[in-house]
Symmetry: C2
Subunit: 343 residues, 2 copies
């Protein structure tokens, strides 16, 4: 019924608590005979050390905190999948939290994670992130911080993401190669990653000798339920239709936007790709089932997760750890899947 402790073993076998502890740790201070006896007994009686008693001495909680905008978003749930896959075999525990892309909430969550004693933190920070100072403090306190997906270069810490500039550059290249000249770039308001993606767009147009039309940079405020952003998109395209100046292609800079834009185009009977070609980031496994089958840029989400955990594990398992001065900046390759929506 109740779990057996080191004390129980000591009492039953007639050793001191310390001896049992050392025997189980396979210490050289204990004779082979005794070690075998104790270890065998522990095994047979299903002894499991109490990790909380242990951490009270050692100070390690083995908790890794993670903050993402929204778990239900398949991109982030795939990251999660990658983390869990590696982590379930280790002593570490993951605590997941959702920021809903709300900077204030994000800061609160970080404080909560600190209170809970997280040994390390993985975060996909919100765009206009006000938590940077707090993240720096955490780092100074010896808590490794890993940025994932939403890389922010204003803070020097570990980063795992993709080459956003290049990914978008390639995407736009593809659209251009398909004959598109008037490409609408839709992104969220957020800074950081979005900036990079926008640069990729601009640079590619430039390099291709296409005149840049700054009205083709559309920012949409994507929030929790997505109702407003849909309306915004509907209004935008309705007006464009009226003015009869639809672009010939759209690049969407995030998963949610990609789906939403496709939905809005359907709703307004704008044929894809006949009237407008569509390409964007999307991490849904069955993008080929869409109407039309969706061309998309797929991020190695699961790998990002497993890499993030591997990195943290490596850092935490180092014996004499101190605030490192060198930080990883991992950029994983994306995959561009070309289908009907850009044909």
């Amino acid at each position: 019924m109740k779990r057996i402790t080191i004390k129980d073993i000591a009492k039953t076998l007639g050793y001191s608590i310390g001896t049992v502890s050392k025997a189980l740790a396979d210490s050289h201070e204990i004779s082979e005979v005794t070690k075998v006896e104790i270890q065998k007994f522990a095994d047979e009686n299903g002894y499991q050390y109490n990790q909380y008693a242990k951490l009270l001495r050692t100070g390690k909680t083995n908790i890794i905190g993670m903050i993402v905008p929204k778990i239900g978003n398949s991109f982030f749930s795939q990251i999660l999948e990658g983390i869990e896959e590696k982590m379930s075999k280790t002593v570490y525990n993951l605590i997941i939290m959702q920021s809903y892309d709300d900077p204030v909430r994000e800061l609160n969550l970080l404080e909560t994670l600190f209170k809970k004693g997280a040994d390390a933190i993985i975060i996909a920070p919100t765009g206009n992130c006000i938590s940077l100072d707090y993240l720096r403090k955490l780092k100074k306190d010896g808590i490794p911080v890993v940025l994932i997906d939403r890389i922010n270069y204003a803070i020097s810490t570990h980063k795992i993401g993709i080459d956003n500039f290049r990914a978008v550059y390639q995407g736009i290249s593809h659209l251009i190669s398909m004959g598109c000249m008037d490409i609408l770039f839709i992104s969220s308001m957020a800074k950081g990653v979005v900036e990079e993606r926008r640069r990729g767009y601009l640079q590619c147009l430039n390099d291709s000798g296409i005149q840049i039309n700054y009205e083709n940079l559309l920012s949409i405020d994507v929030e929790k339920n997505g109702e407003n952003s849909r309306e915004e998109l509907i209004k935008y395209f309705a007006q464009r239709i009226q003015e009869n100046i639809l672009p010939d292609a759209i690049f969407t800079a995030s998963d949610q936007l990609t789906y939403q834009v496709l939905e809005v185009l359907h709703a307004l009977n704008i044929e894809v790709p006949k009237i407008i070609a569509l390409l964007g980031f999307a991490n849904f496994t069955f993008s080929n089932l869409f109407s039309p089958p969706l061309s998309c840029i797929v991020q190695p989400s699961k790998e990002m997760g497993s890499k993030a955990f591997a990195l943290i594990e490596e850092i935490l398992d180092k014996p004499d750890r101190q605030e490192s001065s060198s930080f990883e900046d991992i950029k994983l390759p994306v995959k561009m899947e070309i289908r009907q929506s850009t044909n």
Copy 2:
């Protein structure tokens, strides 16, 4: 840098450790003046109690363990979303694990959760679940167990799901009302929920006076990466095409199957719904983007998550808790979204 402890407060303010502890717990044993002094000091210096020291005394870990087949599956990540939303404001922590629908792995994970001292467990058990005995043991040990989605009536514990019989019954009714007579029912091998869904299918055919053809009950083994199941489906339909005996409708009894079947039908150029109508469980937000827009049965995933957590919170927060003899059996309503794929 380091976190301040109760001991630091005691030393600085000249009280004993016990007094500080009681003051912070707002005990009546401590005078108002002292309490205010201590609490104020604690506040100003950012004191945070060490939950692990606390739990060592109290025995409560505040950890809730959760096992789902796969986090990346949008249905489960939505459940997760619902849980996190409620939980982030509480003292509880969630540990998530993936069983990949592997009964052996599931049992291991349960043991791990027990070792980690989970105070409660939420689980969507695998079909041919060998963990039932272990779950019963956990229950006896005073660890509340909540089954979610995959309800198994062989164990008496809390359950949160849908009325699978009715959901499928309605779905099949709809197919019949659209004129379908030869309906293929595709499910995984798993028992339990699948059984109920199958009963819904059979009963509905019966009630509609349609002759049951048991060859229309197809079981597919859906595993980790889904490669095999795709091949299996391809082979199945290829043969059916050859024999020229395609059904006029398909009902798929799980998210993954729904997407996969749709994909396979595309691959084999079987037009939906012209040749075969398709209806199934699916919890992807943008099912209307599919080709054709997918008719589906949507489960209240987020609500299932929040209900599960609410239930657990209620149980754990009860002061003098003992193994309850009455268990909740919550059935939430599903939503049937009718679109092109069954038209």
